[in-house]
Symmetry: C2
DNA sequence: ATGAAAGCGCTAACAC
DNA sequence: GTGTTAGCGCTTTCAT
């Protein structure tokens, strides 16, 4: 009942453990390393007979590589997270790397316990994160999504969100007077410190009063907050949501209240996720284009080359107006209204 | 630049590696194991100074436990998967177990490479799975979601779906004549072999012709298939979707085509996920009640007690009519129409 | 109260 | 071509 080891296989095949290791590593064909075809066959046979599975922990301790990529995703139900997972899954398939998701967990607590070759962290904005990351980067390759950090032993994925966020706010303030922001209470956390500010600045520029609806947690709470917001006596005619998932929740809330999107309510999200793109009505969003594929590439590069110099990767953002905005607008970059296939 | 080991810490603190191990394992207070308070302090100090992090792989190889729980989720974007992740996350938090998600991957290929104490597999229906699982269960504790397998070295989570699926079909056939099923092409895979059959049997009972819309893959394709289905000259007035995510896609498709749910189209899904419950209109679904919490409990129990006898856990299902069905129906069990909070 | 030492399963020099 | 052997970092008897 004990799990068979390389030793058992060696005994069964009548060879040494080294030979087994070689054969199972597939170095039987190369010209330099010579294992006879017959020995190789016997080893494979023995391994199969015993139901041998390599012990990943032992291999890791020896080689120093786990072939694991960890994705720390703060809110798995955020379509942003799903997009990351999908893109990474597609990118690593060829490389012998297995992506594992650490979901809805504070990486600050959970990471130290893990061993992955490369770790993606989707949320690093709290005080002290810079130090902690520098510290962690001594034992793992880190790729961090952050608007504020600089590379320091780890890579940083940055969204050059500012200008596009401003543009989106100007779009809204030109068309509406009551514009609410739907945001997480801890706008410090998550991917969004700059987003709330963009709203505030935009409203200030237009001389309009702020209308803040804050929720705590996931899309269910965002939905509840949106319902509350839209049920007020003088509801907003536009919502700037701090994230696509919040925007989607707002649209569902509007539909529930029999409000028409975009006629009664314009909604713009942030993140440009696939989910927003394919929903009905499709969601206007400000976000990077081609982001997820590129992010996945960066992660794979880092996995394959742990010692390459660390860098910051910037993504230009765009405003993408779709069905949740009333009209085609000439004044925005890339104004082509996207069509669903 | 090398990652510090227990050895370095021992040297720095002027003690042996054994002492460091003891201290860091927290066995300093117990009466039996005596480490002086002073030594303990020095060790902690040294560890902190060096930025020591235990090597998880080394610990695993020595103890045989990784404190990892792996969730193999065939389609992460399926709300079913999100519900699993959420429930498990809540259940393990206290136990020192870290749940990791293996997403959108064939466990048949990926599992052998991993080392987790307990592995949840959400999809085991293919030929040969029974043998492979029995095999794998020699090295890992397995919990398998399956309608067909029997426990054999692993636990089985079973949904007693049949009667409720039949009930749901009878509900539909009593009210509609053109009822379509929205299903994955490979209805062999995934969690659904019995679901398609329930549709077929139900239609046969009612003497109605089958109307099958099959898609390949994820919710985007389900959406496309639903649009196509509803655009036909003689569209169905009800859709029985093989999974909640497909049902949600169908509702979105209907909304896009300006059809009213439930007036023009009744939709019933399978799985009873939270996402379906909170959407607008809320989704009628047939599924287990309290399933996810219970599943999480089973996983935790298994993680804590690897040698307990293996068992099958059955979940009774119910038909839950919500807004995507036109009317309150007396003839169904638990007919209380649920209200969103 | 602390340390020495034996491995866990595996890989990679280096011998033969 | 194949075997010997020395560890990787850690935990855990068993001495002292």
């Amino acid at each position: 009942m004990m799990r068979p080891t390389i030793k058992n296989v060696a005994a069964e095949a009548g060879v040494s453990t080294a030979t087994v290791s070689y054969v199972l590593a597939g170095r039987t064909k190369g010209k330099g390393s010579g294992i006879s075809i017959e020995t190789s066959r016997r080893v494979h046979e023995a391994a199969h007979k015993l139901g041998y599975r390599p012990n990943q922990a032992a291999r890791t301790i020896r080689t120093g590589r786990s072939n694991l990529m960890m994705l720390s995703l703060t809110m798995l139900s955020d379509p942003w997270s799903l997009s990351v997972s999908k893109a990474v899954g597609a990118a690593v398939s060829a490389e012998g790397i297995t992506p594992m998701i650490l979901a809805d967990t504070d990486w600050r607590k959970a990471i130290p316990r893990q061993g992955a070759d490369v770790i993606f962290i989707d949320d690093a904005a709290q005080a002290g994160d810079a130090e902690l990351l520098a510290e962690l980067s001594r034992s793992n390759s880190l790729v961090v999504f952050s608007e504020t950090l600089e590379p320091n032993g780890f890579d940083v994925i940055r969204s050059m969100a500012g200008p596009s966020l401003d543009l989106a706010m100007d779009h809204l303030t030109a068309r509406h007077r009551r514009i609410a922001v739907l945001t997480t209470k801890s706008s410090l956390g998550a991917k969004s410190p700059a987003r709330l500010e963009a709203y505030r600045d935009g409203m200030k520029r237009a001389g309009l009063p702020e209308l803040v609806a804050a929720f705590d947690g996931d899309e269910l709470n965002a939905y509840a907050a949106a319902v509350e917001l839209l049920s007020r006596p003088d509801p907003p005619t536009a919502i700037f949501a701090i994230s696509d998932y919040a925007a989607i929740a707002a649209i569902h809330a509007a539909q529930r209240l029999r409000l028409s999107v975009p006629d009664d309510l314009e909604v713009i999200g942030v993140g440009n996720t696939t989910q927003g793109e394919v929903m009905t009505p499709s969601l206007s969003s400000v976000g990077p284009v081609g982001f997820f594929t590129r992010l996945a590439d960066v992660l794979v590069e880092r996995a394959l080359n742990p010692h390459a110099p660390h860098r910051a990767v910037d993504f230009p953002w765009q405003v993408l107006l779709r069905d949740s905005s009333p009209e085609f607008s000439q004044d925005l970059q890339d104004p082509k209204r996207e069509v669903k296939k």
